[in-house]
């Protein structure tokens, strides 16, 4: 257990794992776990500040990080940028920060000036080539994705990676393809190599257990999504949804989150058809079903030659991307139709009765309603006992959760 200053990479990785586990549990600040989370965060930040200058956040990332911390939306930043369009352009990386903006953000939001003035690291955001050493090989071995010894990693690392990525085609091409034709929704830095490894693992597992029939375009309708959502009523709902969707040609692969990807789920165009990957990063029933619906919309409406992968950190706002906005909207509508929501007591009463009432009416799991209430009201402290903490991973007990 880490209780002192972090001095090695191993200690740092261990701290990150524990932080992620604790974040999932969402402890109260004044509890033992809450205090532990605070301590680990301080220690990890200290290590990063000393040893990882190369992955210091670029200006956009620094702004997004502060937005996430303070629950700010894009419109809240208008006073610092001058207009809504400038906010959008800066966050999309299309417009550089002016000195006035830097000053305003530093003074108003307390973002360090050095972060705002930092240069974007093109290597991190846009991997141009194939650098096998940047793949998280040790992590991949520990997860059983590849079998190798430490000596193997050193001596034939590149070969191992190439074999592993075979389902994606040539690694260089795969990285370039997903860079060109993929979309990542995230408010944080994403390690593209870790993300590629995770994608490959999802596709490998999908290929190993193919759907009995190919996916047909047009299969996913709002009605089908609602039918899937109603499976949530069962304790085994996530598994039932998996089986249901496999029958219509969409493998749903539950693959735990890999560090530095901050991923909830992904919709991927695989060699044999669309595949959905879900990390169950937040082990909550509401999160699972929202994520599944969101990715289903991507499969039904957005995957294609021009976009072969959507990776979603659903904690992040959809931003200006209309596909993300549409996936959010339809996912919400599939789970709880707007008309039902507007006429439901749950809209204005944050009680278990109100939750159960709407859940009964729609024949969906109450956690989905509780999650909607928390999301709509932006009050994430209410109904925390009803969102199904720890109830999704339990369904997939054959998976080794960390």
């Amino acid at each position: 257990m880490i209780t002192k200053v972090i001095r090695s990479r191993d200690e740092y990785e261990a701290a990150l794992s524990e932080i992620e586990r604790l974040v999932d549990r969402d402890p109260e600040p004044d509890t033992g776990e809450g205090e532990r989370l605070d301590l680990l965060t301080v220690l990890a930040r200290d290590y990063e500040s000393r040893t990882l200058p190369s992955i210091a956040p670029d200006p956009v990332e620094a702004i997004r990080f502060r937005m996430e911390q303070q629950g700010l939306r894009q419109r809240d930043l208008v006073p610092y940028f001058g207009s809504k369009s400038k906010v959008s352009e800066v966050l999309a990386g299309k417009r550089p920060l002016t000195l006035g903006m830097v000053r305003a953000l530093h003074t108003g939001l307390g973002i360090p000036a050095e972060a705002l003035l930092a240069q974007r690291d093109p290597a991190l955001l846009e991997p141009a080539g194939f650098d096998w050493e940047r793949f998280p090989l040790a992590e991949m071995v520990s997860r059983g994705w590849i079998t190798a010894t430490a000596r193997d990693i050193k001596s034939k690392g590149e070969e191992l990676v190439r074999q592993f990525l075979a389902p994606l085609g040539k690694p260089e091409a795969a990285l370039a393809l997903y860079r060109r034709t993929g979309y990542v929704r995230s408010g944080r830095h994403i390690d593209q190599y870790a993300l590629t490894a995770w994608t490959a693992q999802v596709l490998r597992r999908a290929e190993a257990a193919p759907a009995p029939a190919p996916y047909k375009q047009g299969t996913i309708t709002l009605e089908l999504m609602r039918e899937v959502a109603r499976l949530s009523w069962s304790e085994q709902g996530p598994r039932l949804a998996q089986e249901f969707l496999l029958r219509v040609g969409i493998p749903v692969i539950i693959e735990p989150h890999i560090p530095r990807t901050h991923l909830d789920g992904a919709a991927i165009q695989g060699p044999s058809g669309p595949v959905i990957g879900v990390t169950v990063r937040h082990d909550r029933i509401d999160n699972f079903w929202y994520c599944l619906m969101h990715e289903l919309v991507h499969v039904g409406k957005h995957l294609g030659a021009d976009c072969r992968r959507f990776c979603d950190d659903l904690d992040a706002e959809p931003g200006e991307d209309v596909r993300e906005q549409e996936a959010d909207e339809i996912a919400g509508e599939a789970l709880i139709p707007k008309q039902e929501w507007n006429s439901s007591p749950a809209r204005s009463l944050h009680s278990s009765d109100a939750v159960q009432d709407l859940a009964d009416r729609l024949r969906i799991h109450p956690a989905i309603v509780a999650g909607r209430i928390r999301h709509e009201s932006r009050r994430f402290q209410v109904l925390s006992g009803l969102v199904g903490h720890g109830e999704v991973r339990r369904v997939f007990s054959d998976i080794e959760w960390r």
Binding site: P345, A346, R347, S348, L349, S351, S352, D353, R378, R379
Partner: protein
């Protein structure tokens, strides 16, 4: 005047309670006699001014006629007085005469320690209507109770035959053992009426944490019902404090009342609790329609035709009227409670007309509904169906003490 099939609620003369009385149906109104306590307006309490500044006697009389009509009621003005009578007697006399001249039918309430000056001041209220003696729990066990009572009554020239005796146990529901109370009371059979009152509704809803549905046992009803089948020298009339705590809490600036509905059911109050109306970023008054809609879907809901309060619940729950506010929801909750208690008592004693009046709308479907009992009730309060309270024998017969489910149909 009335017997044990009647009902005596103690109510404060405040907006919500007034409205609750006003909206009672005539048949229900005839089955109850309220004991009304006047609460001083807050500004009077705060500044210690005399009661004469509160309302003119004429206003008060008009107010009573408007909300209660010209029916008898027990009129307790003690709470209007600021401790010492000096300087307030004239004002009190003006109030008393204003009520009498305004066409109301007050029965003045006396306390055992009332002095001659106070009693004679109120005498003009009586006008032949007799008086009401309100004994507190401590009074019942006081030595020389009989001589004190005789002295008090002789000072106004009435006998027990013209006096309504109310034993007010306030929040001490466990003291509601009529078997103990009766022998301590002198000339029990001779009083014009005899009522025992207690109230178990908590002072506030702090014990119910967060929005949700909760149950609070109607302990006074359960205890009284358990005793109603005993062989007693005289069966008292039932009284309670409706959906309010016996001790009036004074208004505190900055209070953040919750958007809650208090709803009487067979053996408990169902409390549909919301969060504070003033909570930052909270849903505020919109919680009322939500709570009303949820209440309407409960098996305990009596249907819109049961009472004004139930109709109000259905109107707000369906979005056909505004959200309401704490006062309108006191009105609805107390109105439902008064109606419920009247019909519950009538049903207990099996009168044919009472059974008919109990029938309630089952949302037009005539479907059977189960009477709900709060899960915690069984352990919290003994009822005759479960076990008798200590020192109290169990019921002699198994007669129904609640209306049979199949009786609860639409009128």
């Amino acid at each position: 005047m009335f017997d044990h099939t009647h009902y005596v609620p103690i109510l404060r003369w405040k907006m919500g309670e007034k409205g609750a009385l006003r909206e009672l149906r005539p048949k229900d109104r005839a089955k109850l006699t309220p004991l009304i306590e006047w609460s001083r307006p807050n500004e009077v309490a705060a500044h210690g001014e005399s009661l004469a500044t509160a309302e003119t006697p004429q206003d008060l009389a008009r107010d009573i006629i408007k909300h209660w009509g010209a029916r008898p009621f027990f009129c307790d003005v003690h709470t209007l007085l600021d401790g010492h009578l000096g300087g307030q007697l004239d004002a009190l006399r003006r109030v008393a005469m204003g009520l009498r001249d305004g066409g109301t039918r007050p029965i003045p309430v006396l306390w055992l320690d009332d002095g001659p000056a106070y009693v004679s001041t109120l005498e003009c209220l009586s006008s032949g209507a007799g008086a009401c003696l309100r004994l507190r729990e401590d009074d019942v066990s006081r030595s020389g109770l009989q001589s004190r009572i005789e002295g008090l009554l002789s000072s106004i020239g009435v006998t027990t035959q013209h006096v309504d005796l109310v034993v007010d146990l306030a929040a001490d529901v466990t003291g509601m053992d009529v078997g103990v109370i009766c022998p301590a009371l002198p000339r029990l059979g001779s009083w014009r009426t005899f009522t025992v009152v207690a109230g178990s509704f908590p002072p506030d809803l702090k014990a119910f944490q967060g929005p949700g549905r909760y149950y609070q046992p109607r302990a006074e009803w359960l205890v009284w019902k358990a005793q109603s089948s005993r062989r007693l020298p005289r069966l008292p009339t039932f009284g309670d404090y409706a959906t309010l705590h016996p001790v009036l809490t004074t208004y505190k600036p900055g209070l953040n009342p919750s958007a809650s509905i208090r709803y009487a059911t067979d053996e408990s109050w169902m409390i549909m609790r919301g969060e504070g109306l003033r909570n930052e970023d909270g849903p505020g008054h919109a919680q009322y329609p939500a709570n009303a809609a949820l209440l309407m879907r409960r098996p305990e809901y009596c249907g819109p035709s049961f009472s004004y309060g139930d109709k109000y619940i259905s109107e707000v729950g369906a979005g056909r009227t505004g959200t309401g506010n704490p006062t309108t929801w006191v009105r609805a909750g107390v109105n439902h409670h008064l109606t419920f208690a009247v019909r519950q008592i009538a049903s207990l004693f099996g009168a044919a007309d009472a059974r008919r009046s109990w029938r309630v709308a089952a949302r037009g479907q005539g479907k059977r509904r189960r009477a709900h009992t709060a899960p915690a009730l069984a352990s919290a309060i003994p009822s005759p169906e479960r076990r008798a309270p200590p020192g109290v024998p169990g019921p002699r017969s198994a007669r129904a003490t609640s209306p049979a489910p199949q009786d609860r149909r639409a009128d």
